[in-house]
């Protein structure tokens, strides 16, 4: 009898001092949770890996065919100054097959085009990403931040890491995902992380409120087309953080808002603030089981749903912070952490660089 014992796995490692370390560490961590995935998706987000191009937007793009690549590159050349481009180096292994063409571009927006658009630079880049993903058939931008990159595929995460030669990259923060798709297809674009600019999300769970969240975020110009619920979390973070200037802590309160019964017994002014956030951003509330790790340029954030229907453990050792679905995935790379704990449901864990880190 085949008994499915899976459930997604997530893991994250961050150096508060900005020290760069090899991607091998995150592969070892996510590999310890092999049983939580079923080989239909794995991926990584890596921060601080492109210091030589740190002022350029690094686009990672999947192409299904040569004509998609031609059309996309034409679009890129007319909107960006392409500093350099190359195939993303991969290692051919039998575990990873049917790969699309995978290309990487380091670019800055063309000054004239940017000025004409009357947009700020980041909004300009976001619109270009959506333009490519929605209008060029067979081209998919899956990474668009500065000094960071997403690497994802169909396969077990440890194989995906080997495929992309992740151990050859050095960064100050890595997140990882092992996928067990429940009700959406397992395809290359559907693997986690989902990223926009430097925000990336890996997610273990299933959002019951997906459709409500999707309809809401589409009103603000975000198109959900990747057939999976995690995408919408990424866009909601981008919208609330970059456009509405909410703090990450406030965003956590919006996503995993306390129950009204809990808010009612809180003292002022905390109660007032929580009431405001719940009312003003009602359609951004995420229900259903989830644990997420969010990467951003200055750190790492983790959040559980308010009922804590998924497990998540945090560990610390000196300047290192570890977050994973299972404690074993932390112990396997740091067996003597100074502290290990499970955050409460809805409790924001936000860790940024120590003061003075560049």
């Amino acid at each position: 009898m085949f008994r499915n014992i899976s459930g997604c796995a997530i893991s994250g490692v961050f150096s508060k001092s900005g020290r760069r370390f090899s991607g091998k560490l995150i592969i070892d961590s996510i590999a310890a949770m092999h049983e939580r995935s079923n080989g239909l998706g794995g991926g990584f987000a890596a921060y601080g890996i492109y210091p030589e191009y740190k002022d350029c937007y690094a686009f990672h793009i999947f192409y299904d065919n040569e004509s998609a690549k031609e059309e996309c590159e034409k679009f890129l050349a007319s909107h960006f100054d392409i500093i350099t481009l190359s195939k993303i180096p991969v290692r051919k292994i039998p575990q990873i097959t049917d790969e699309p063409m995978i290309w990487r571009y380091f670019m800055v927006p063309l000054p004239s085009k940017l000025a004409d658009s009357q947009l700020d630079e980041r909004e300009f880049v976001v619109r270009c990403v959506f333009r490519i993903n929605s209008t060029i058939d067979g081209a998919y931008v899956f990474s668009s931040g500065k000094n960071m990159g997403v690497f994802k595929a169909v396969g077990f995460p440890e194989d995906v890491g080997r495929f992309y030669r992740l151990e050859e990259y050095e960064g100050y923060c890595f997140t990882a995902h092992g996928r067990y798709p429940t009700n959406t297809p397992g395809w290359w674009g559907g693997a986690h992380p989902f990223a926009l600019l430097d925000y990336s999300v890996v997610h273990n769970g299933e959002i019951s409120s997906y459709d409500a969240n999707r309809r809401n975020i589409e009103m603000y110009g975000y198109q959900c087309m990747l057939k999976t619920d995690t995408e919408v979390i990424t866009y909601m973070i981008d919208y609330l953080h970059r456009k509405k200037h909410l703090t990450l802590k406030e965003i956590c309160t919006v996503f995993a808002a306390p129950f009204w019964s809990t808010i009612e017994i809180m003292p002022y002014p905390e109660r007032e603030e929580l009431e405001y956030l719940r009312n003003a951003f009602e359609s951004f509330l995420i229900t259903g089981p989830f644990s997420i790790i969010v990467g951003f340029d200055k750190g790492i954030m983790a959040l559980n749903d308010r009922l804590k229907l998924r497990s998540m453990v945090v560990g610390e050792k000196d300047d290192m912070v570890y977050i994973a679905s299972e404690e074993a995935a932390i112990r396997v790379i740091e067996n003597e952490p100074d502290r290990v704990w499970s955050p409460k449901g809805g409790e924001a864990v936000i860790i940024t660089f120590e003061e003075g880190t560049e």
């Binding site: 014992i5 310890a32 949770m33 049983e35 019964s261 809990t262 017994i265 009922l307 804590k308 497990s311 453990v313 299972e326 404690e327 074993a328 995935a329 112990r331 396997v332 290990v340 499970s342 409460k344 449901g345």
Partner: protein, 238 residues
């Protein structure tokens, strides 16, 4: 027999544990699942971090963990003993129906969810530290004891006893429980109640070398469902 969990992986490890007649020591444990599942007559000592569903369907064996455990320890356990010299994850003793679980430190959310009892089968969970929310959710029988030895605060999270309709929960705390659901009543445990759990607490104190005087140095509250059928109003009379 001594086995390396990391080298064997969870399938081989569990096959080896099942095939051995005597006691087993497991080391290098990093999340290997189902250890001791259904075991009835041996002692398994685990050094490391055993994976989910440790001791599920346990049927008389003893499991000792030197470290923290993960989620769903003692899932549907029938008999035996699990001792955790550290913390436990979520859903500890899920649907447990017999035997005893001791945790030295904290336990996660939903401790003792769906626990039940029948005649002489009466499961017991004792937590030395604190627990997360939804302690004893849907509790139908058995006994959960939370000692909060590492805190001056109330040692359980929110929504304790939601859906509880049997069994009892003891909470050692200088602060009384608040925000309990309507169908649960709390009061200071009486002498008779304490008498019933005394032997288990005595054993807990010996296992972890904690003085019983310390355990009984604070009030102990007892939470029970109020009435034989607290959900009666949800059903039609017929």
């Amino acid at each position: 027999m001594i086995l390396s969990a990391y080298e064997l992986g969870f399938r081989l490890l569990n096959e080896r544990i099942r095939s051995v007649n005597g006691d087993v020591t497991v080391y290098d444990c990093f999340g290997e699942r189902f250890i001791g599942a259904g075991a009835s007559s041996k002692t398994i000592v685990i050094n490391g971090t055993p994976g989910n569903a440790l001791g599920m369907y346990l049927d008389g064996a003893t499991i000792i963990v030197n470290g923290n455990s993960q989620d769903a320890v003692g899932d549907t356990m029938n008999d035996g003993k699990i001792i955790i010299n550290g913390n436990a994850g979520d859903a500890l003793g899920y649907a447990m129906r017999g035997g005893i679980i001791f945790v030295r430190g904290d336990a996660g959310y939903r401790t003792g969810i769906h626990m039940k009892e029948y005649k002489d089968k009466k499961p017991v969970i004792i937590i030395g530290g604190c627990t997360g929310s939804f302690l004893g959710e849907y509790l139908a029988g058995g006994c959960i004891i939370v000692l909060g030895l590492n805190t001056d605060d109330y040692p359980a999270g929110e929504f304790t006893g939601v859906g509880m309709h049997g069994g009892e929960i003891f909470i050692r705390s200088s602060k009384p429980p608040v925000n309990l659901p309507g169908q649960v009543t709390a009061g200071i445990a009486g002498e008779e109640d304490i008498c019933r759990i005394k032997d288990d607490i005595q054993e807990f104190s010996e296992v972890f070398n904690i003085k019983t005087e310390e355990i009984f140095s604070k009030p102990i509250y007892r939470l029970v469902p109020n009435g034989k059928n607290p959900y009666k109003r949800l059903y039609m009379d017929n």
